[in-house]
């Protein structure tokens, strides 16, 4: 018996991802919100939406904080409570989770959740510095450890412990780039080969340029309501049936395991139990592939395969569109792009499309159960959500 709906998604929106020159974060957020409105004509935004949570990681990019109010203002949703959630790259996974809290509390019947980041107008060195702020300052940043560096430390440990290869990491990039070509909103629109990845320049060994997700501008959102109200707004709601969020040490160095993310494992366990489903039941998943190695570790943490077998799963083709369990059909952070604050609800947007049969060229046939896995920093935050279609 699949778990009962906690909250229902009645609409969702996504801006075009990529280099969005000349635009501000708030303008991108309005673009995503407009799509959500267009998809849900029965919703009257000023009447119905009672609260909003907006994920946003860095005020350094635009010298702009206070993103909750700015987003409420520019979406025309004043005077509702509007709060920014910040959990590094899981900022909008945390916004989604906050929306679940808000609806379940009974204080707000309809809640807008989303996220945004405007990054591409900054230099790579600046972005490298801003992203590193998600990691520990006095011991990691201070000693020159970058954000890719932290994931490289985990990738190296995984390769050492399990024999995972650079070609297996590359297989993740190849798959996600292929998926990106099927998503008109993805930043990258070209297929690549394993050789392209292996020949790309080193960022932090063993991670190379094509192992890394992109620097992206973009915004995403979803509109949540109580399951009993969902049909008022749409004939095709998607229900969230499991929600887990967990935390871990801010410093990677203090963790017991360097080959898995305990926060992600814990968030997944909570979400699976709440949803009363197992990893085998999942039809489609969006996982946090900030680096190719992170997708391999995600497979293991989510129970898609045993610990140490993620590399083989990546190579098998089973997680490619048409395979047993397609992962990151949107192109993932790797090819769709990674505007960090927008990523969590962008994953929810993709699952919303998949479970309502609107994913067009990348539609997973008969997808009924979906999962999102959103990681903040080097794994100090993780949020896992499980979704089911109305027809399940």
């Amino acid at each position: 018996m699949v778990g009962k709906p906690l909250v229902s998604i009645v609409s969702a929106g996504l801006s075009k991802f990529g280099k969005r020159e000349g635009l501000y974060a708030r303008e991108l957020f309005a673009e995503a919100f407009k799509e959500a409105l267009d998809r849900c004509p029965r919703l009257e935004p000023k009447r119905d939406i009672k609260a909003m949570f907006v994920g946003h990681m860095g005020e350094a990019y635009e010298h702009q904080g206070h993103t909750g109010a700015a987003a409420a203002d520019w979406t025309g949703l004043l005077n509702i409570p509007a709060t920014r959630t910040e959990a590094a790259c899981a900022s909008s996974g945390a916004a989604l989770r906050s929306g679940v809290y808000a609806v379940l509390s009974g204080l707000a019947d309809v809640v807008l959740v989303g996220g945004v980041e405007k990054m591409t107008h900054r230099t790579t060195a600046e972005v490298t510095e801003y992203l590193a702020m998600a990691s520990d300052y006095p011991f990691e940043q201070w000693h020159g450890i970058t954000f890719p560096g932290l994931f490289a430390l985990m990738a190296k440990a995984h390769m050492h412990q399990y024999g995972t290869t650079e070609a297996q990491l590359a297989a993740v990039a190849v798959k996600n780039h292929y998926h990106g070509t099927l998503n008109p909103k993805a930043q990258m629109q070209k297929e690549i080969t394993v050789e392209t990845v292996l020949a790309s320049r080193i960022v932090a060994s063993p991670l190379k340029l094509y192992d890394c997700s992109l620097i992206t501008d973009g915004a995403s959102c979803a509109i949540l309501t109580k399951p009993e109200l969902a049909r008022r707004f749409t004939d095709q709601p998607v229900h969230i049936i499991g929600s887990g969020q967990a935390s871990d040490t801010i410093g990677l160095y203090e963790r017991q395991s360097l080959t898995s993310l305990s926060a992600a494992k814990l968030a997944a366990k909570i979400a699976y139990e709440m949803a009363a489903v197992t990893p085998d039941d999942i039809d489609v998943a969006e996982v946090h592939d900030c680096f190719t190695s992170a997708e391999i570790i995600a497979y293991e943490d989510l129970g898609f395969c045993k610990a140490g077998e993620g590399g083989k799963l990546a190579e098998s083709g089973e997680t490619r569109l048409g395979g047993r369990l397609p992962v990151n059909t949107s192109g993932g952070l790797k090819a769709k792009g990674h505007p960090v604050g927008a990523t969590g609800t962008a994953q929810a947007y993709e699952i919303y499309l998949q479970l309502t049969g609107q994913a067009e060229r990348r539609q997973v046939k008969d997808a009924k159960l979906g999962l999102t896995h959103n990681v903040g920093g080097s794994g100090a935050t993780a949020a896992v959500h499980i979704y089911r279609s109305e027809t399940q």
Partner: protein, 132 residues
């Protein structure tokens, strides 16, 4: 009981004296590296300083090629996580070994050499690890 508080600042000040110091909880005995104001095991706030051996084994490493502005002149440089003899882990730069010679499990020791020439507080001294 030591007069100094169990802070990250004090941890770095000890480095300038060539000492790797941790806080030991007086109630449950847990050793905190770096020291903390509150034991995350038993919530006690009383500690004593204990000196830690700076020798250990490399648990994992990476060579960073794309660095933030302040480290760009040093790139590429190696960083790693070292498990010390008492089992605790700390990160740091690794010098004195070529990247292709580096391997997980190799024995390293903390080097305070750069710590004595560090800028005055609040510029923290940067220790590093070198092969034994």
């Amino acid at each position: 009981m030591s007069q100094t508080s169990f802070t990250i600042e004090q941890f770095y000040k000890y480095l300038t004296e060539g000492k790797l110091m941790a806080g030991k909880c007086t109630r449950c005995g847990k050793i905190h590296l770096p020291p903390r104001p509150l034991c995350d095991n038993c919530f006690n706030n009383q500690f004593e300083w204990t000196e830690i051996s700076g020798k250990g084994k490399l648990v994992t490493y990476t060579v960073i090629h794309i660095a933030p502005q302040q480290f760009q002149a040093m790139a590429p440089y190696a960083v790693g996580i070292v498990q010390l003899e008492n089992g605790l882990k700390i990160p740091g730069m690794i010098s004195g070994v070529a990247p292709e010679q580096m391997r997980i499990g190799m024995e390293l020791a903390i080097d305070f050499g750069a710590c004595s020439t560090a800028q005055p507080w609040p510029q923290w001294p940067r220790y590093c690890f070198k092969p034994l």
